[in-house]
């Protein structure tokens, strides 16, 4: 669907970790690329190296073999144009919501000006939390905290958004709601999204493409384009086509597990 140059490219990426119990091969021969403004979900069993994939793009890890490129530049260290949303919101418990959103700036540059705070408030409104600036994270629900986490990741207006099972700690309803919220934000302000998830239906509902990984050492065993019209919404969840995709992916994953 999206066109133009690749935002992210994996070429022959292998990752081996040295652990106390010996070498652990997390990834082997990962070969794929993600176009600019494409929404790609990564599915796979636990411990298949999905998170490793994300950390390689973030520049938090160097691949043992092969190369990861972002906008045709080999990733050797973290870049400024990437935002990360973690599984847990991991907000600073002592800082209010607004301070949490501007935290990356304060942390990187050491200062925050009125304009940044203005931007933070706009982002907060965008994730549906206008008026919550002064609250502490402990006063928010899990879903609201993760909204703040998303706003924090968007602060630097990154081209690429890396999301590591961002909704997996939420209850089912909130989770679905957050998915639509994310789509709304993404459609209003397109970004390249790499979205790690355990949920097949979440992957199909949100993504342009679903990559399925094998168990360790992780490889891409399926690269499935999801051709469902956008904007997607609650009706999409009941769509027959969506059920076909979900069924196909489920049988694929179950067959591998058996």
């Amino acid at each position: 669907m999206a066109s133009g140059p690749a935002a992210i490219r994996f070429s022959g990426v292998g990752q081996v970790f040295a652990t106390g119990a010996g070498a652990l091969e997390a990834l082997r021969g990962v070969e794929t690329s993600i176009a600019r403004h494409e929404f790609v979900a990564v599915l796979g069993p636990s411990g298949c190296g999905k998170s490793t994939l994300l950390r390689l793009v973030a520049g938090l890890l160097r691949p043992t073999r092969g190369a990861v490129e972002v906008f045709d530049l080999k990733v050797t260290e973290p870049r400024d144009d990437i935002g990360i949303v973690f599984q847990k919101p991991t907000l600073l418990p002592w800082a209010n919501v607004e301070d949490n959103i501007v935290f990356p700036l304060r942390h990187k540059t050491g200062r925050v000006d009125a304009q940044d705070r203005e931007r933070a408030r706009a982002l907060l409104a965008k994730v549906g939390l206008a008026g919550f600036e002064e609250r502490l994270p402990a006063e928010l629900s899990g879903g609201m905290q993760q909204r703040v986490g998303i706003a924090r990741a968007l602060l630097m207006n990154p081209d690429i958004l890396l999301m590591d099972e961002p909704f997996s700690a939420l209850d089912a309803l909130t989770r679905e709601e957050m998915g639509f919220e994310l789509l709304r934000i993404w459609e209003a302000q397109p970004k390249t999204v790499l979205f790690i998830t355990h949920s097949i239906s979440e992957a199909v509902l949100l993504a342009d493409r679903v990559l399925v990984m094998s168990e360790r050492p992780g490889r891409v065993i399926e690269d499935l384009a999801i051709e469902i019209d956008r904007p997607r919404g609650i009706e999409t969840s009941n769509d027959k086509v969506m059920h076909d995709y979900v069924g196909h992916l489920r049988s694929l994953l179950l067959k591998r597990a058996a």
Binding site: P78, I84, Q87, K88, T90, P93, H107
Partner: protein, 281 residues
């Protein structure tokens, strides 16, 4: 529930209700903060006083509370203040010096596994050395000023601060450290803006323990060599067989420790309220 029309039943209902309110009030009073411990404390004092009088326990074995109270009169208030200040000064200087040394060392230990493996055993050895036994040696080495007493106080307060702060610095969620690294933020900001605030609950639990240890350190130092301070006063009093006086000194020490402990607790509540264990509001 069915309503009864007879006046008898309603009056007995009213009675029952009254009894219930009364019982609720009693229960609430029973649960009033501080009431139970205060009652216990007063009871213990009464039993103590009564047994001392009843069994005619000699004062040098156990003076009655009333006699201990009399012990306070044995020296002038100005002398008391002198003694308290001498002990408090050493305890506080030693405590603050200990914090100033312990925090940077904790940062080093948390940052480097090699350093941690190299230094930690030495810390354990130092901690395992009984302070009471080293105190005379330190006094001989460093003379008779405040310095040796401060060093002794440092020695006794240092270990819990280092261990607890190190644990706190390591307890930061790994995601936040990844966030910091993904921003390529200077390491000093990772420490000041993420790791240290996360360590605050750990640091404060050590600060609370250490402040009472600081008083112990100051007193131990005074036992060895001093001409002032509550520790000195207790030793002097016992050598003169003024046991009730020594007990008065002991009471002052306990109060001093309790007050310092409460000040540290209060400081956390005022400046770091988010670091306290969750109380749903």
């Amino acid at each position: 529930m069915t309503m009864s029309d007879t006046s008898e039943a309603s009056s007995s209902n009213a009675q029952r209700e009254e009894g219930l309110t009364w019982r609720l009030a009693a229960r609430r009073a029973f649960h009033a903060p501080g009431l139970l411990p205060a009652t216990t404390f007063i009871l213990v004092l009464l039993v103590w006083e009564a047994s001392c009088r009843l069994f005619e326990i000699p004062t040098f074995v156990l003076p009655a509370p009333s006699r201990i109270l009399g012990g306070f009169d044995s020296i002038a208030v100005a002398r008391w203040i002198d003694h308290v200040w001498a002990t408090l000064r050493v305890a506080l200087i030693g405590y603050i010096a200990s914090i100033a040394i312990a925090l940077p060392i904790a940062v080093l230990l948390a940052r480097s596994e090699i350093l941690s493996r190299a230094i930690y055993p030495i810390l354990v050895v130092v901690q395992s050395t009984p302070v009471v036994a080293v105190a005379p040696i330190i006094i001989v080495a460093l003379g008779s000023g405040d310095l040796p007493r401060v060093v002794i106080t440092c020695l006794i307060t240092f270990f819990p601060l280092v261990v607890s702060t190190t644990t706190g610095l390591m307890a930061t969620p790994p995601e936040l450290i990844e966030l910091s690294r993904s921003l390529r933020a200077p390491i000093i900001r990772e420490i000041t803006q993420i790791r240290f605030p996360y360590a605050v609950p750990y640091i404060f639990s050590a600060l609370r323990i250490s402040v009472t240890l600081a008083v112990i350190g100051a007193v131990v130092a005074e036992f060895v060599a001093a001409d002032k301070g509550i520790g000195y006063f207790i030793q002097f009093s016992t050598s003169m067989f003024q046991v009730q006086q020594a007990w008065a000194g002991l009471v002052v020490l306990v109060l001093l420790s309790l007050i310092l402990f409460q000040i540290v607790t209060l400081a956390q509540r005022i400046w770091f309220p988010w670091s306290l264990p969750k109380e749903r509001t």
